[in-house]
Amino acid sequence: MTLAGHRKAIYAVGPDGRYTVVPSSGWEVEETVTLQAVEHFRRMEEDARRRVLEGTTSPLEFHMYRSRMDPALLSQTTGLWCWRIRRHFRPQVFARLKPALLARYADALGISVESLQRVQ
């Protein structure tokens, strides 16, 4: 279950025709579309992981998807230009990044600088 045991409040009509707020553990439809969105990021993350191991992209791309972000959002979060971020997806460029820039990415993604530099 996407709600992981949480229950959310919904408005439902009781037998007397009056609305009440009742807890609900969600319904099939919500689960389908939420998992679809979660799966989308997971696929992008897996794909990026493969390319990191092949040496065609940097761990930055992997961690971006892992944090459920895309280049546009990462750009807004870090304040860096999108094209610069894409450039940092190149392993050779990423390997030469200054500590300050690495720290900026790590902070935006909510991970440590060490974990930013590898995939798990």
Binding site: A4, Y11, Y19, V29, T32, T34, A37, V38, A72
Partner: protein, 329 residues
């Protein structure tokens, strides 16, 4: 500090209703939602969330916080911060004064949210009513029970960047003088909602926005990209059914407001409108069900059928709001 946690279907109306109740103004979540004229529809293809257009079944974030002020004659005090440290210090200061504080935060950084629900949505609302050690005591209206978050997490959530960035927004009611007779406020609020739904001079808002999105869904069939189509349709459903809408794209919470208003004012026309709004919500849920089955591949993707269902929903709501508008609202 004593704070009564209230469970709600939508974060912003839940927070506003809880804060007002704490200060002695008894308004339900649904009444708050309705009085702020929060129901709407908007299809904004030029605003992208993870590559998908923004589709909203309500007014933009902060519309309830601002809209309630005039209707209930209350004044909300807002503060935003450039510096996270001073934003956290101000929160501690208000808590020390015994003030429960409403705030905007990003869902992604709140540790108590279930992992599958943590997306980068910056316009979530919650109330902090205390602090114990390094942990804040939180009344999050969409959680069943009060929750907690470490200060580092709350700081990250309050100062997340990107679209609708909260910039540490804090708020609390500072002057409350609600009217004794709610009739004028209720009628004015409904009137505003019918105007937004029927007469906004933009083809992407209200009933016209619904029709535009319906055509857009129908046009997906021509793209020939099955994955994109499934993601798009799934996104439409998510915006409608996701946590915070109470299901049916806020139609049920609005129906509950109409029902409460009908009883308060003894107005049978409003009671009838409540029943129709429920039917509209049910129709959106049917649409969601059909769409989700197609996304999952249980039934073949049929964009023209979805377009037709969405058009029907639009026609139903057009009738509903025309009748509400004729009922004197």
């Amino acid at each position: 500090m004593e704070f009564r946690h209230q469970y709600a279907a939508h974060c912003e109306s839940g927070v506003v209703s809880s804060l007002l109740r704490h200060h002695g103004v008894e308004v339900s979540e649904a009444m708050t939602f309705g009085l702020a004229s929060a129901l709407a529809f908007a299809y904004l293809p030029f605003i992208r969330i993870s590559g998908q257009p923004l589709i909203a079944y309500r007014m933009p974030p902060k519309a309830i916080l601002k809209g309630i002020q005039k209707r209930l004659n209350v004044r909300m005090h807002f503060e935003t911060f450039r510096d996270p440290a001073s934003g956290m210090a101000r929160l501690d200061e208000l808590l020390a004064q015994g003030q429960p504080v409403g705030m905007q935060a990003s869902v992604y950084w709140l540790p108590y949210f279930p992992p599958d629900m943590r997306f980068h949505f910056n316009a979530h609302n919650l109330i902090v009513y205390g602090k114990e050690g390094d942990e804040y005591l939180i009344s999050d209206p969409v959680a069943e029970m009060p929750v907690r978050a470490a200060s580092a997490d709350l700081k990250k959530a309050r100062f997340a960047r990107g679209a609708l960035a909260p910039r540490g927004l804090l708020y609390y009611p500072e002057r409350l003088d609600p009217p004794r007779d709610l009739r004028p406020a209720i009628m004015a609020a409904i009137h505003r909602t019918t105007r937004v739904m029927l007469h906004t001079p933009l083809p992407i808002i209200g009933i016209r926005g619904m029709r535009m999105l319906a055509r857009r869904i129908g046009a997906l069939a021509r793209s020939g990209d099955a994955e994109h189509t499934a993601l798009y349709v799934g996104h439409v459903v998510r915006m409608q059914e996701e946590i915070g809408t109470g299901g049916g794209g806020f139609r049920f919470i609005f129906a509950s407001f109409l029902q409460e208003a009908a009883q308060l004012l003894g107005d049978p026309a409003l009671a009838e409108a409540a029943v129709e709004t429920t039917a509209a919500g049910d129709h959106w849920r049917e649409f969601a069900l059909a769409a989700a089955r197609m996304c999952k591949g249980r039934t073949p993707m049929d964009c023209s059928h979805l377009q037709q269902m969405f058009m029907e929903g639009a026609a139903r709501e057009e009738r509903l709001f025309r009748r509400l508008s004729a009922a004197g609202a």
